[in-house]
Symmetry: C2
Subunit: 420 residues, 2 copies
């Protein structure tokens, strides 16, 4: 799982050694040795270690670390004029993970950002604009249920009060968690002052599909992010004894949930979209008790917003048919819905040209890059080939050669963006 | 929810006052104030309080408390010859609950047993045989997954090693839990010496259905327990990103699970049987991750054993069809399967006659009475009317008048059984 340096006639170049060292340092943090997967949730002990690691990398490069109050880490060049200029180039990704996630989703972009700075230094490239490395907080939303919480707070698309009231599975609010970590709740707020200083953002990410593998390309450029929604479906019924209650006397909410699962599969296939139920909570949860409630989360994505709405409606309609038959209830709550994102076309075309005509492809995954793009920051993304397409899993992988090709591509794009 | 004494021209008779006092004492133990439901799991703090309560009731009546080493509490009359005679009449039920269970399932039988002794004393009935009150351990199997663990250990139908290796949801084994409670693991073993002393067992229970309500009867007599099985279904697939993985590239085990849920409903209706999925565990459990595995428990019951086998096969077959399509796996593990139980016909007929021609009806629920009956102990059950039929739920209910009618019926049956 660890990328190793490849020589390519450039044995042990500094940025390659640094890449390997950084990767090795991150490897054990938050890892479950039994599955090989990562559990790096916002403000967990593992997350704090990752933040310390980021601070160390910034310090080692003479960068000045700031925190935007929302937990997003920003490492600025020491000679950057810290006020007034609006020409900073932001580069980075996130360090947190989904439950039992892979090593690459997020960290590859942060490690590559630091390694790209190292490569630019090796090349002696003069940067006319400050290049700032970003580590965004809580991108996956695994703990509190809202994806890209850090970048959404920064841009103001997530209100501080709403964020602070989010609760994790243990019932702890973000406010309680931040207070326990000694952080200032008043500092959680939009930061237009920071965003005003940013002229562009580039995020490198392992591809979460097999697009590049099928096109035989190591690196690609993102065109757009599909619109995406998380919906909580609350199926309600009546708990009762599994052995004595006649089938026709039951109000079992599990049945409408099952109908929704099959409808999601059917309609997403038809629409060329994606629909997934990956999280389910059943109450009371006894083997011999008919459930009183089934709470499930639908993750739905489609090529355009009309298709996304139609997809969720079709799934809900089919589930309601079963609910009506059984006398059970169904409430659908959108927890987060992201509009489609088209990345900056000038940045996209320049990147594709710089990378020798690299493939340009859309993605179904949400990213902090999407949040900043929607806020008006000129934004681009680079993808590194994923041979199996597996993502959000311990089996997520990228080849070492492809990772280093990603670092070189990122350095090329940064040199272009940071030129006067 | 609390039965109140009804006068019926017998204001405040001792056994009625005792019934209400006992009920009031039990009311707060292990109760979740938000739902009104009970969480009384084997060897939990609540369970230990219930055991202390039982000991107190025994002591208050001059009974000698013994523990069979398996956690089953037995309260013997002080004048019982403690060796040699095989004429003891056992009466009782259990005090543990399902998750968020009702107040009546179990405790009503224990409280009624003590109250019936009080009524027999009021009546001045001479008992020629010792009447022993039993509180069976871990009847619901809510913590370790095996129902009637206490009575099965007592009779030898559950091996001590298998029982001690059972694990709860936190991964703790019964052996670890018992050791932490200071109990002797070597004492966990079959007790034929105790069973040899028992000539009959009677368990009173709230009905878990609307049979008596539909027949307008306060009390009924059980004819039989349906065969019953708990099966663990392990659906396995591959975790992947919910947004980027094409529907046709997925191996999502949730789909075969959903097919199993709908198949269970369909086939149980057709067969006049019962099939329920009340407990589900999804890994990794992230909103934006396709599951790697879905573990679900099927509770299936049918009027006869051939129907039960056919029901489970039909459900499994339908789920396997979806598994094959998706390239997912399915393993089915029977965790506990109970044969049909027909209660002692002489006891049943005598009880029905004593109760003025009370209805005789079967049940889909398993009970310690079923375990003892299968072991050859002449066994009978009385049911108390449940107006709504709701069971294993905070809404489980029995009317106070019906509860006291149950006490009187139980006293009548005990007087019959304990007559020389």
């Amino acid at each position: 799982m660890d990328p190793q340096p490849e020589t390519h006639g450039q044995p042990g170049r500094a940025h390659e050694r640094e890449f390997v060292r950084m990767w090795d340092e991150l490897e054990p943090i938050g890892r479950d040795r039994s599955t090989g997967g990562y559990h790096r949730y916002a403000w967990s002990d593992a997350d704090l270690l990752l933040r310390e690691w980021f601070a160390g990398e910034a310090a080692a490069r003479g960068l000045e670390l700031t925190d935007d109050g929302n937990g997003n880490q920003l490492a600025w060049p020491a000679d950057a004029e810290l006020a007034g200029r609006g020409d900073a180039v932001l580069v980075g990704s996130h360090l947190d993970s989904v439950p039992d996630g892979g090593a690459y989703d997020g960290p590859l972009g942060v490690v590559s950002a630091f390694a790209a700075l190292d490569l630019l230094a090796e090349r002696g490239v003069r940067l006319d604009r400050p290049v700032v490395v970003a580590g965004f907080s809580d991108e996956e939303g695994s703990r509190f249920g809202i994806a890209c919480a850090g970048s959404r707070l920064l841009t103001g698309s997530l209100a501080p009060d709403a964020a602070l009231g989010m609760r994790d599975r243990d019932g702890l609010s973000l406010a309680e968690v931040l207070s326990a970590r000694g952080r200032d709740l008043a500092a959680v707020r939009p930061r237009p002052d920071i965003l005003d200083r940013v002229s562009a953002f580039v995020e490198l990410h392992v591809e979460q599909g097999r697009g590049l593998a099928d096109m035989d390309a190591a690196v690609g450029v993102a065109s757009a992010i599909w619109p995406h929604g998380r919906f909580r479906l609350d199926f309600t019924g009546e708990a009762n004894h599994a052995g004595t209650t006649l089938m026709q006397d039951r109000r079992d909410p599990m049945l409408a949930f099952a109908a929704a699962v099959l409808a999601a599969d059917e309609h997403a296939r038809e629409a060329g979209a994606r629909a997934t139920f990956g999280r389910v909570e059943v109450l009371p949860g006894g083997t011999n008790a008919i459930p009183s409630s089934v709470r499930a989360w639908l993750d739905a994505r489609a090529p355009d917003e009309a298709s996304l709405v139609a997809l969720v409606e079709a799934i809900t309609l089919q589930a309601r048919g079963m609910s009506r038959r059984d006398g059970t209830g169904l409430d659908v709550t959108p927890e987060s819905v992201s509009a489609a994102v088209s990345f900056d076309t000038a940045l996209r075309d320049a990147a594709a040209a710089l990378l020798g005509g690299a493939p340009v492809l859309p993605t179904g995954a949400g990213h902090d890059a999407g949040v900043l793009s929607q806020h008006g920051v000129p934004t681009g993304m680079l993808f590194v080939r994923n041979p199996t397409g597996v993502s959000h899993s311990p089996y997520e992988h990228a080849d070492p050669d492809d990772c280093l090709a990603g670092v070189r591509a990122l350095a090329d794009v940064l040199a272009h963006l940071a030129a006067a």
